[in-house]
Amino acid sequence: MDILTRRRFLLASGVAGAGALAAGATAYGLSDLFDTAGDRDPQARTLVLVTLYGGNDGLNTVVPYADPAYQDARPELAYSADEVKRLDDRVGLNPALGGLHRLFGDGRLAIVRGVGYPTPDRSHFRSMDIWQTARPDRPEQTGWLGRWLDGVGGDPRLAVSFEPTLPPLLAGARSAGAAVPVTERKARRPVGDQTLAKLAVAEPGEPAGQARAAACFADLRAVDAMITEVRDAAAADEADDGGTDERPAATATGGARSALAAQLDLVAECVEAGVSSRVFSVSLGGFDTHADEKQLQAILLGQLDKALTAFVDRMAGTEAGRKVVVAVYSEFGRRVRANASDGTDHGTASDVFLLGAGVRGGLHGEPPDLTRLDDGDLRFTTDFRDVYASLLERVLDTDPEQVLAGWRGRLDAVLT
């Protein structure tokens, strides 16, 4: 409750981050500095960011089933009033989202409508870059949560991804989040800890890539320590479920290969063990439904629904879990009109889902008007930076303007 208490950590970190880092320096050293931050403020919230790679079709996720313009634009793809899980007399959820429908009914799911950005870009890569860097106006080298990480000192353990390659959103200018594999949790290291420690030392004047490679050894040791603690804490009741790694089908647009559920399981363990991480990035790929969309999207949404609801329900069971906020987004929605391959091409605005601590359930923001399109696409009604700003301010106790280049918009009604 005491915002000053929660900010104490951040202020201290910011000072260190600004002073201690020279050009080309890396996370090494700061990890040691912030080992002490492991005793996290019990009031601090945690952000779990779920990225749906490929461009999830928002109109078939939160379905405006009663809108004749929707039914007309995609007769083969549209869901009827009988099929959807109704939210009100105008919109309903995709039939695969039964669990989220229940959470909505309980007032625990907030759906922000029509989220996008000006002059939408229909390239997956550019649009995903825009979402991950939060800079629609120009190319940017750092991710929005990477900049946040820079500001809080750069300890990679504060922002963790369970994907093999670091998502750009966790890459800062001076630091980067930790990428921790879901599989191979325990295995004997072929390189002893003493060698790891020696290779972790930064050398003055070495090339940036080489310095980053050395810093990886430091990061790995820091993450090791954290994971070991988590494992020990969870060891008592951890039943090995055999690691059901149901890999989604190949896609042309990226995304994690591990099941979302497996990633969220690990997040849950970390949260319950009280690790110092404030941000977790997880993902599900395969949403680029240019063809035969209906069935494919239903499978993917089913995976999302199952994984998310299990996670949210589990989180509701512990004090630490009740401090978690989940945000779900994709790089764009899809064209309103179906193409003739029973799919949809790249579109624009879509919905963002928010769940968890302090989230006011319900439908928020203005749904885009299906009869007032911009060259066949929806016009966005809420800027995605409003969502980010609220997450930074309310969940991560950070001044959003520093991370979001002075952005002032907020989503005040959704997060308390």
């Binding site: 790679y53 870009d121 229909r122 390239s123 997956h124 890569f125 550019r126 990679p156 994907e163 093999p164 390659t165 670091l166 750009p168 890459a171 980067a176 930790a178 990428a179 921790v180 594999p181 191979e184 295995a187 290291r189 072929p190 390189v191 003493q194 060698t195 020696k198 290779l199 030392v201 930064a202 050398e203 070495e206 090339p207 940036a208 890539g209 080489q210 310095a211 980053r212 490679a213 050395a214 810093a215 990886c216 050894f217 990061d219 790995l220 089908a249 190949a250 896609t251 042309a252 647009t253 990226g254 240019h290 063809a291 193409n339 003739a340 391959s341 799919g343 091409d345 790249h346 060259d375």
Partner: protein, 434 residues
């Protein structure tokens, strides 16, 4: 000595990873001679001849029809997956064995550029066909490559060209063709994407023959306006239009510069001015005065790292026992780079994105596998050096210019155990970059 530095730098960039013997030979041949031999190798490549492409036969799924049973389908899918795995194994073996290293590395470059994944194409035959296209057209004029690629069956399947028809245009291939393969983002509009998709209509892949064919009734023969030109574009004329744009030459030259020189030092102007084909652009990259300043600035891609290590350690992946070969590919997957399986049509990342705690763990395990697979003769030679000289012997073996005091401090205590020494050298920060 300056010349030796330049030769070593050139070899590290133009090959997957030079052996100490190759460095010695190149030093004798001189910088210019080495460059010529890399860019225009003379005669047949005995290494390539020793690793012929697998004879895959027909797509196992080609015989599957409406009447096929569930078991037959599953069997065919299984065979397909085995063939795809076998093709990855073969290519890794070829990368190690090829003596015309730059030729092979350029194929890998184009694979990353036109990033197509067997996970959706699902046919080893078609993936191999695409690699053949890179071999045939990848050295010459870009136009010929683009014209071949818009008719490439694997690319068509990968980007839904299969579904693109006059009555049902599908924009996927046209968009990526302009954004990722030719012009680069920002040099076309949404209207051009739509018109480009119409130009590409009509090309269909016949899964049974593995060929792409033009189906006239699916093609949109009407006029289209693309990049200011209005005509009845088809795939070929659209490809020629794109390839002839100066933005395409600049875009591809920048991609070559990024992969062979790096992104820290800007490419010299006019890198793209070199006419005559990709090999000439590559020559311009490798001879640019600023190329020397890029040393140490590239993070090796995982495949480059692993293939280079295998070349230097004398390991042929094709001769590894099955289980180790599978582990090799699994570890590459852990580092997020398996040939024929790029993560997306955008290809693989570059630079520090490869350097994560997660990939480091896979790299350490793969380093251990390789150190154990290295021939005993190699570890004997390392051990034959006086104890204090072993880190230097390791640097020579791995073609590392010099160890920093940091890494020397890590290596020195391991000097009595050549295999552990090897592992530490392979995962060292110095060996991570080139």
């Amino acid at each position: 000595m300056v010349d030796r530095d330049a030769v070593v730098h050139l070899l590290r960039r133009a090959t997957f990873g030079p052996t100490a013997a190759e460095v010695d030979a190149a030093e004798r041949a001189g910088l210019a001679g080495t460059l010529d031999r890399l860019l225009a190798p003379v005669g047949a490549d005995p290494g390539a001849a020793a690793t012929p492409a697998p004879d895959l036969g027909a797509d196992p799924y080609a015989g599957i029809g409406k009447d096929s049973s569930r078991e037959q389908r599953q069997q065919a899918q299984k065979q397909r997956a085995e063939q795809a795995r076998g093709l990855v194994d073969w290519w890794l073996d070829r990368m190690v064995a090829a003596e015309h290293q730059l030729t092979e590395k350029l194929v890998f470059f184009w694979h990353g550029h036109w990033a197509t994944s067997v996970r959706k194409v699902r046919s080893a035959q078609l993936m191999l066909g695409q690699l053949d296209t890179f071999r045939r057209y990848g050295r010459g004029p870009f136009e010929e490559l683009v014209r071949a690629m818009v008719r490439d069956p694997a690319l068509i399947l990968w980007l839904d060209g299969q579904k693109n028809s006059r009555t049902a245009p599908n924009e996927n291939l046209a968009r990526e063709l302009m954004e990722l393969f030719t012009l680069g983002i920002g040099h076309y509009t949404e209207a051009h994407v739509k018109a480009g998709a119409r130009a590409l209509t009509g090309w269909q892949v016949d899964r049974r023959t593995g060929k792409a064919r033009f189906v006239r009734r699916r093609h949109d023969p009407a006029e289209k306006t693309i990049l200011g030109r209005t005509e009845a574009f088809d795939a070929d004329s659209y490809a020629r239009l794109l390839a002839a744009r100066p933005e395409s030459a600049a875009f591809v030259a920048a991609r070559l510069w990024a992969r062979f020189a790096g992104t820290d030092v800007p490419p010299p102007e006019p890198l793209s001015g070199a006419n005559g084909g990709t090999i000439e652009v590559l020559r311009a990259v490798l001879t640019a005065p600023s190329f020397a300043q890029t040393r140490g600035g590239l993070v090796k891609q995982p495949v480059e790292w692993a293939v280079g290590a295998m070349r230097q350690l004398g390991i042929r992946p094709g001769k590894l026992p099955d289980q180790q070969r599978r582990e090799l590919v699994n570890r590459l997957a852990g580092m997020d780079q398996v040939p024929l399986r790029p993560p997306s049509v955008g290809g693989w990342p570059a630079g520090p994105a490869w350097l994560t705690t997660s990939s480091l763990q896979s790299r350490m395990r793969l380093a251990a596998l390789l150190a154990n697979a290295a021939p005993a003769e190699l570890t004997r030679r390392l051990a034959a050096a006086p104890r204090d000289d072993r880190p230097a012997a390791l640097a020579r073996l791995l073609v590392v210019d010099r160890w920093t005091p940091r890494t020397r401090a890590a290596l020195t205590p391991l000097a009595d155990d050549p295999r552990r020494l090897l592992v530490a050298g392979l995962v060292s920060p110095e060996y991570t970059v080139c």
